[in-house]
């Protein structure tokens, strides 16, 4: 199945070859090539993911038994804050769009680069600067931030830890995200190849398009919220200070106006990856193309109207609770449309269970559990019971790690052979998947039950009745870590020493597979002209 004998692939390192003989770091960090920028992002994101995962492991270790004092209380507060800030702002929000989006968007639409290559490089530099500032906030001032990633007032105003610097990092990262979104929207509007009409865009590009809109139109609210926390602390404006006539709830409104759509920034691109992978391994045209594309836009727009479901117990008006609960149920509809369409695509397909498809199926399972448990919290009555408990923690880890995380891993298994031209070991990739899936479920499922039993999130210690669930969860974290190690090792070994993958190892039909692997620096030697849709496979599949 591996066309290793591809003639001119042996020495052709494509865009990975040093440009103009220039080697070293400079040829990467100053390159405006979208493929190189995509890889820069990917490297940073994976490194920070490992850092965030280590913090998570430390937390789980501390929570393994009641009364455990492995971490001091203040350290524990800092650790869960950093875990959240790193995973949300530095890993998940840029994850798929900034890495795979950058690498693939121009390839998918037959362009030579994004619309503003230099701006693209600036986005990456801002991302790096944001990461550095976040790093500085940990080790400078009077201690790492301890507010949780949500920076809720009044605590974030009062705490003596280094929140001011941390919110500046968030502001910079937000700016980077806006510029990426702006770049992508313009690219998709302006640079599509001849014949590539909107209805011939791959669903991955559609999901990037919907995501980019949220990035452009919602992220500025995060920017202003971060600036307000900063000025509350430095200038003492008192806008959220109840003792001075401010309304702390307005902070929560502003924060979630961005941060709820932000979870769609995280999940939509993963959904796009899934929509692109499933037809390839079912050897079937995607079922309901238009509905999947439409549901991406629907999720992006309706998802911007549900933010206050994070605030049902905060003292909001009853009318607002009612309306936001209703809107929350509405947003489940387009997500369900996607799941049903994916399953319909698989139905009676000629399925080959390669690693990318397996990770994708993992996504669908985890996302369904996470999404449905989200509805349980979206119901205003049930929410009062589970608000701020482990149930919420389990929900968003199922959606975000099980969803976006597995989506990212599926993308890695699908596109790394394209990026580096080499194939990983198939058997080990499959084995790693099962370990990861088992670890994830053992880690997070007990949290649903702990939450229903009343275990509040972010607590340093707990009562003995929660001990079994907490212990199981910690064991799950070890299994998950083992699975991740297996997977990353396999991928790394594959891209270093694996057999040559050839231009189209999966027999996929989107434009990037018409190029050699890795793709040449200039992408397309001549502008491609598109005559067919992204999922029109040749009658005889590319598989030997």
């Amino acid at each position: 199945m591996n066309p290793a004998g591809h003639p001119d692939a042996a020495d052709d390192r494509g865009f990975l070859a040093p440009p103009g003989g220039r080697r070293g770091l400079g040829s990467w960090v100053f390159s405006t090539d979208h493929k190189r920028i995509g890889l820069l992002y990917l490297g940073c994101i994976l490194a920070l993911f490992l850092a965030g995962a280590l913090l998570g492991l430390a937390m789980r270790l501390k929570l393994m038994t009641p009364g455990n004092e492995l971490l001091a209380a203040q350290t524990y507060n800092a650790v869960f804050t950093l875990h959240g800030v790193i995973m949300i702002f530095l890993v998940l929000i840029p994850s798929i769009p900034a890495s795979f989006g950058n690498f693939l968007l121009p390839l998918h639409i037959g362009a030579n680069d994004v619309a503003f290559p230099r701006l693209n490089l600036l986005s990456w530099w801002l991302y790096l600067a944001g990461a550095l500032v976040a790093f500085v906030s940990i080790f400078s001032g009077s201690g790492a931030p301890d507010t949780g990633w949500t920076f809720y007032v009044p605590f974030s105003q009062r705490t003596t830890t280094n929140v001011s610097v941390a919110v500046l990092a968030v502001f910079i990262l937000g700016f980077s995200s806006i510029l990426t979104g702006l770049n992508f929207v313009t690219t998709i509007h302006q640079l599509r190849a001849p014949g590539l009409t909107w209805r011939r865009l791959s669903l991955f590009v559609w999901s990037l398009y919907a995501t980019a809109w949220i990035q452009v139109l919602a992220t500025p609210i995060l920017g202003i919220t971060a600036l307000l926390i900063f000025s509350e602390r430095v200038l003492n404006l008192g806008l959220f200070d109840a003792s001075r006539g401010g309304d702390p709830l307005l902070y929560q409104h502003l924060f979630w106006i961005y941060s709820h759509p932000a979870v769609y920034i995280m999940i939509l691109p993963a959904m796009g990856v899934v929509s692109d992978i499933i037809p390839v391994f079912a050897r079937k045209r995607i079922f309901g193309y238009k509905m999947i594309a439409f549901s991406s836009l629907a999720i992006a727009s309706v998802g911007s109207l549900v933010w206050a479901h994070h605030m049902f117990t905060s003292g909001m008006s009853d009318l607002a609770v009612l309306v936001f609960s209703f809107l929350t149920f509405i947003v489940a509809v387009p997500s369900a449309i996607k799941v049903f369409n994916w399953l319909s695509t698989l139905y009676k397909g000629s399925i080959s269970l390669e690693p990318p498809l397996l990770y994708t199926l993992g996504f669908i399972w985890m996302f369904s559990v996470g999404g449905l448990s989200g509805l349980a919290q979206g119901a205003a009555g049930a929410n009062i019971h589970v608000h701020d408990t482990y149930f919420v923690v389990a929900h968003f880890h199922y959606v975000i790690f099980g969803g976006t995380g597995l989506g990212l891993f599926a993308a890695l298994h699908f596109w790394l052979p394209k990026m580096f031209g080499r194939m990983y070991n198939r058997r080990r990739a499959l084995a790693a998947f099962w370990v990861i899936l088992a670890g994830m479920n053992l880690l997070y499922f007990p949290m649903f039950i702990l939450g229903l039993m009343g275990m509040p999130r972010r607590y340093y210690d707990y009562l003995p009745q929660f001990a079994t669930g907490q212990f199981m969860s910690t064991v799950g974290s070890w299994i998950l870590a083992l699975g991740l190690l297996l997977m990353f090792h396999n991928l790394y070994a594959g891209l270093r020493r694996g057999p040559l993958a050839g231009p189209n190892p999966w027999g996929a039909a989107t434009l990037e597979w018409t190029l050699p692997s890795p793709p040449p620096r200039e992408n397309f030697a001549q502008e491609p002209v598109v005559h067919k849709g992204p999922y029109d496979f040749p009658r005889q599949g590319g598989h030997a």
Partner: protein, 103 residues
């Protein structure tokens, strides 16, 4: 949906037109200051915002050339304003309907 297709050639606005727009803006500024000196209660705020919106539309249409741009940019501007209105409107579902004593 499609972007800059059938985009009109860049249009050069005459100095005369631009100056006329400026004069209108200046007159509206005078008008809004005049209105503010009359006490109309909350209508003062509404009138001031209405005039500000009129001025903004003048700036957008002529100084920013939006009148001569394609449908895409116009539609997107509309989208941005609708979005802001929704953000503020939905927040008021909370603020304006809290039970008495709950603040």
């Amino acid at each position: 949906m499609d972007p800059g297709d059938n985009q009109p050639a860049p249009r050069i606005l005459s100095s005369r037109l631009l100056t006329a727009v400026w004069a209108a803006l200046a007159c509206l500024t005078g008008l809004t200051m005049l209105l503010a000196s009359i006490d109309l209660g909350f209508y003062n705020v509404l009138a001031a915002l209405a005039i500000a919106t009129a001025k903004a539309l003048l700036v957008i249409a002529f100084f920013m050339h939006l009148k001569y741009e394609g449908r895409l940019l116009k539609g997107l501007l509309f989208l941005a304003f609708v979005l802001l209105a929704i953000f503020i409107g939905l927040t008021f579902l909370d603020l304006a309907f809290r039970a008495p004593g709950q603040s």
